[in-house]
Symmetry: C2
Subunit: 332 residues, 2 copies
């Protein structure tokens, strides 16, 4: 059995810089036409100049992947920086509340003070991407505790397009559904696949550790329903985040899952299990592009139902589903 | 400030065997008169002969610690084995549901089939110690899902003394309080100290990973109330479990926290924070002994309020609170 779909896009991707960038970009390029590249590199991508610099670094890899650029919204971001970054080609601004995940020590502590920045984004047509967790609350409650902030932003900036990134709870799914069409959510492969038990339920699994942490089976079920429902508010953002093995298997393991090498094969398996293979194309190749007001991709890719074993390690990084079988793979 | 209390007992301790036994026993001996030694060694302590063999190994260390012996209740345990083990000096039988924690692949899958064993324990006066988690349920619900089993055992064997080990939830505390005086619970140092956020809330912390996993702040608060309340149903069992660093910092981290080197100093700090230093002696040196029908210890130990820094590593093992300050220490 073969499945041919329009070339998909990944609306949430970490490519990093230097050697890691070079080693991971091909996995995404093989499957995706475009990817929204996260700006929380070290150092971060904060302004127009850095957007141009980072895009050139990515294009210099010659992978064929079309990078969609973003800037990191920090407390010091100004409307002028937003306007210039937009002119330089950034289509989104990503906001991390302070300390909520990897490379977020420079995150935002006072979101309301950024109202002029959001107003400029709204005017320019730049999308606001939110890591939707409230710092300082119990880990399992952080996403839910952030939802009032999401609602307020949607109410205050009625034309600003907002994406709640990597939704992880039933409450977030319901909240996004209840808000106007300007508000959408990305869903990752791993949040469709894992629950908290895959981290702490047996032995401790650092390679399944990410933020927001996968939650209860009921939350995963809600995410699967949202992803397969055909509701255009939910589309793919893998949040694939490469960390070298030793940064994960240590006393203070980094958050992030490297799903790029297995993203579409695992999605095909999940959508098939949900009897929703027909919804895969819309989730991966249509709803995101439409929300971002981008043209749909022209070409197609094909997946074949042929089992393969995921390598234990890829370039020093342990990928999602390492050592395990997946029933689908990319056709050559 | 100095605090002098009756010599305490640890009613839940992992000593392991061989080199690890030799390297860890001194930390417990320095603080505790007696310790109930867990039988889930590799291979396990299942019968009278093994009880005698293991006790000799422990005594051969010459640490001064008085070992209180237990056997592991497995599906193949018989009333005859219980009787013989009791005669050989075992005062408790420890039951692990299959697969719930480290070294529990030989755990029990059918508890009701062990009724004749429980009847013999009841008759002999042997205590039944339960790892109270129901396998196959979501990790955060496992303890609560086990409570009906605890209630059934208490109802069916009205003279059998039962200990719910390492209580980790508010629901477990309330359940134990609601049951007859034959049912008690141990509480660990780390469940009084940590929540799930100390494992997954920031970076991933394998050295805080244990079973049952620490839960929500509300659960920790309930455990602190129980431990400091003066209710004799709640007493100390540290569940100190030494694992070499490389067994924790890896792709499949082992569950267990090595708290022995810091147990009483941390307890003093916690009880002081709860304004309940006066309750420390009963929790650590009286309620457990009374429940187990053992004489109270004669001597005393002293703690002084003098800050120290916990070493990063002790004999290849990362202890609880490694590298951090504790306001109390054992007096020389």
């Amino acid at each position: 059995m073969q499945l041919r779909i329009r070339r998909p896009d990944d609306f949430h991707l970490h490519l990093r810089q230097g050697k890691i960038l070079a080693s991971v970009i091909g996995h995404t390029a093989r499957q995706f036409e475009r990817a929204l590249v996260m700006p929380n590199t070290m150092p971060p991508i904060l302004d127009a100049e850095e957007v141009v610099w980072y895009r050139e670094k990515i294009l210099a890899q010659g992978s064929g992947l079309v990078p969609l650029m973003s800037i990191k919204i920090v407390q010091a971001t100004t409307p002028e920086m937003v306007r210039a970054a937009y002119t330089a080609g950034a289509i989104a601004g990503k906001l991390y509340p302070v300390g909520v995940t990897t490379n977020a020590t420079d995150g935002v502590s006072d979101i309301s003070a950024l109202a002029p920045v959001f107003a400029q984004m709204e005017q320019s047509g730049m999308v606001l991407c939110l890591h939707g967790e409230l710092p300082g609350t119990f880990s399992l409650d952080r996403e839910q505790a952030f939802l009032p902030t999401l609602k307020n932003l949607a109410r205050e900036f009625t034309k600003l397009r907002i994406v709640l990134e990597h939704a992880s709870t039933e409450e977030a799914v319901e909240c996004v559904m209840s808000l106007p069409l300007t508000v959408a959510a990305t869903i990752t492969v791993h949040h469709l696949l894992l629950t908290l038990d895959d981290i702490i339920g047996g032995t401790l699994s650092p390679h399944h550790f990410c933020k927001p942490v996968p939650k209860r089976p009921e939350d995963r079920a809600a995410l699967r329903r949202a992803a397969t429902s055909g509701n255009p508010k939910f589309f793919l953002g893998t949040d694939s985040a490469p960390h070298l093995k030793h940064v994960k298997e240590c006393a203070e393991g980094a958050a992030g899952i490297f799903s790029a090498p297995v993203a579409l094969p695992l999605l095909a398996e999940i959508f098939e299990a949900e009897r929703a293979l027909d919804a895969l194309e819309r989730f991966t190749a249509e709803f995101g592009a439409k929300f971002y007001d981008l043209p749909l991709n022209e070409g197609t890719i094909a997946l074949v139902q042929e089992s393969w074993q995921v390598p234990d390690e890829i370039g020093g990084i342990v990928p999602l589903w390492a050592g395990q079988e997946i029933a689908w793979q990319m056709a050559e």
